[in-house]
């Protein structure tokens, strides 16, 4: 049963990576750049949860969902503000300038976090009623079920938004050809802002779910998960939404399986080596398409 237990743990961790990876991949889809501040929006999600938790009934489903919604909404607003203030003025600037700005915004959020929240790690409260389900030697916590369930629901909602709504059609149009979209009357600034908001909301949800499973939060907590989620997005095929979800799940499973083996000290090294091997055979990622570029 040990491998099955690790698989469930891996799915739970991978689901969180998937939520963060979706934000990276969505922004890349419409703007063709990596928003490195995204991992710090994930951190803000956890802190919004930390500060709103006392305002709702403790360990209740409705209270927990209210905190989750607050974190998603707060992060969506932050994401849209970052886009408006930091990235929009650089629209059309060389990619390197935008990349450096993204790193700058990331550092600003991390160290502002240390100023406002303090550098000392804090214990994240229990938001939902805690239960453990046992099946022989298999133990599944209610938080793990919650993480996987919420992630599935959010990914399904995201797919629905992208393929079944007018803003989704506009997002796909902007991702395909921004100038043509603009000249068809699509307000590309609004679509890009919405994309940032949506991606950041998912990161906020990821922050809450991560903090529920690893209940120690601090202003630098986003760095490692952010890096792994970024890798997951590339593994799945950057710009590809199902790919980001698949990449996140796969990375979480590989990492947990290695952590449960005798080689646990090298879990990150082994996990990343496996990813490199996959990318060697699938350079565009698991679900990415290889494209030729006219020069």
């Amino acid at each position: 049963m040990e491998p099955v237990q690790q698989l469930i743990n891996g799915l739970s961790l991978g689901a969180i990576y998937a939520l963060i990876a979706l934000g990276y991949t969505m922004v890349y889809g419409v703007l063709r750049f990596i928003n490195f501040a995204h991992a710090d929006v994930f951190m803000l999600g956890a802190f919004i949860g930390y500060y709103t938790a006392p305002l709702v009934p403790a360990e209740t489903v409705w209270g927990g969902l209210a905190v989750l919604a607050a974190a998603m909404l707060g992060c969506a607003v932050v994401g849209m503000l970052i886009e408006r203030l930091a990235y929009r003025p650089l629209r059309g600037a060389p990619t390197l300038n935008v990349l450096i700005t993204a790193i700058g915004v990331s550092l600003l959020l991390e160290y502002s976090g240390q100023v406002f929240f303090g550098a000392t790690p804090r214990t994240f409260p229990e938001l939902f009623p805690a239960q453990r389900f046992t099946l022989g030697s298999l133990v599944i916590s209610s938080n793990q079920v919650l993480v996987i369930g919420v992630t599935l629901a959010l990914v399904a909602a995201l797919q629905w938004i992208i393929h079944r709504t007018r803003i989704g059609t506009a997002m796909r149009a902007v991702a395909q050809n921004p100038r043509a979209a603009l000249l068809m009357g699509i307000n590309t600034n609004r679509v890009i802002a919405f994309t940032f908001g949506l991606g950041s909301a998912l990161a906020g949800a990821g922050g809450i779910l991560y903090a529920l499973n690893y209940p120690s939060i601090d202003p630098l907590m986003g760095v490692a998960p952010g890096l792994k989620a970024f890798t997951a997005a590339i593994l799945g095929g950057i710009g590809n939404i199902p790919g980001a979800a698949l990449g996140g799940l796969l990375l979480g499973i590989v990492e947990t399986l290695v952590a449960g083996s005798a080689l646990s000290t090298y879990k990150d090294a082994i996990a990343f080596t496996i990813l490199l091997i996959i990318l060697f055979f699938r350079p565009a990622g698991l679900l990415g398409k290889r494209t030729t570029e006219k020069v």
Binding site: T165, R166, I167, T169, A170, R172, A173, Q176, N177, R179, A180, A181, L182, L183, M184, G185, I186, N187, T188
Partner: protein, 262 residues
Amino acid sequence: MTPLLEIANATIRFGGLSAVSAIDLAIGSGELVGLIGPNGAGKTTAFNLITGVYPPSEGRVCFGGRDLTGLPPYARARLGIARTFQNIRLFGSLSVFDNVRAACNLHRATSPLHALWRGKAFRDDEAAIATQVDALLEIFNLGRYRDTPAAALPYGEQRRLEIVRCLATRPKLLLLDEPAAGMNPAEKTELVALIQQIQRQFHLSILLVEHSMRVVMGVCQRIAVLDHGVKIAEGSPAEIQHNPAVIEAYLGEDHSENLAHH
């Protein structure tokens, strides 16, 4: 009577180079005007000026009596200016239906807030748009490709789809940028018929940039000629055909002889 589109003394400079220099052009309601000139004459730049991709360094562009200065491209599209591209710019992985539907979002009866609770008004609006899109696809014989990704269409049909997508924005002025590029003579004949059908059926003003004299002479009521960013002539197809400045700058003596047969 106020022209629908008026370009007054417009200049666009890139660095020290003038791509378009002090051009004047007016297009009346329901008029079909051609814009011709050699490569690099500034024709596409003129389109970019009208659609707001580039602001004028000097002069102004008015549409329906309104100065468009400072208005972004999407806002100009809402006023009724639509364009196609020299290199087809469809949303390749979106279906034919979604390509046209994306353009229909300009004229909706409901706001984005309605999308949240998806009430009857919203559902009716969605149904109305789907009906409009399907009707447009049928008119232009694209119905059979409804659910096909745009990138999978044959070249001629992609051109047609791009024009249909423009029409979905309900334009008053349609800018066609070299629609006959890459077409064989039979396809060009079809294109001429298509442009005439569009003008008849949708009562549009059309500004056509085209290298194919066969197309320009076949459909345009009036032609303006650009050379090195300057307008060197304007008049009826017959006048342009025999204008010495045009012949020298663009057509060449032999070409002029050929045109006499159109």
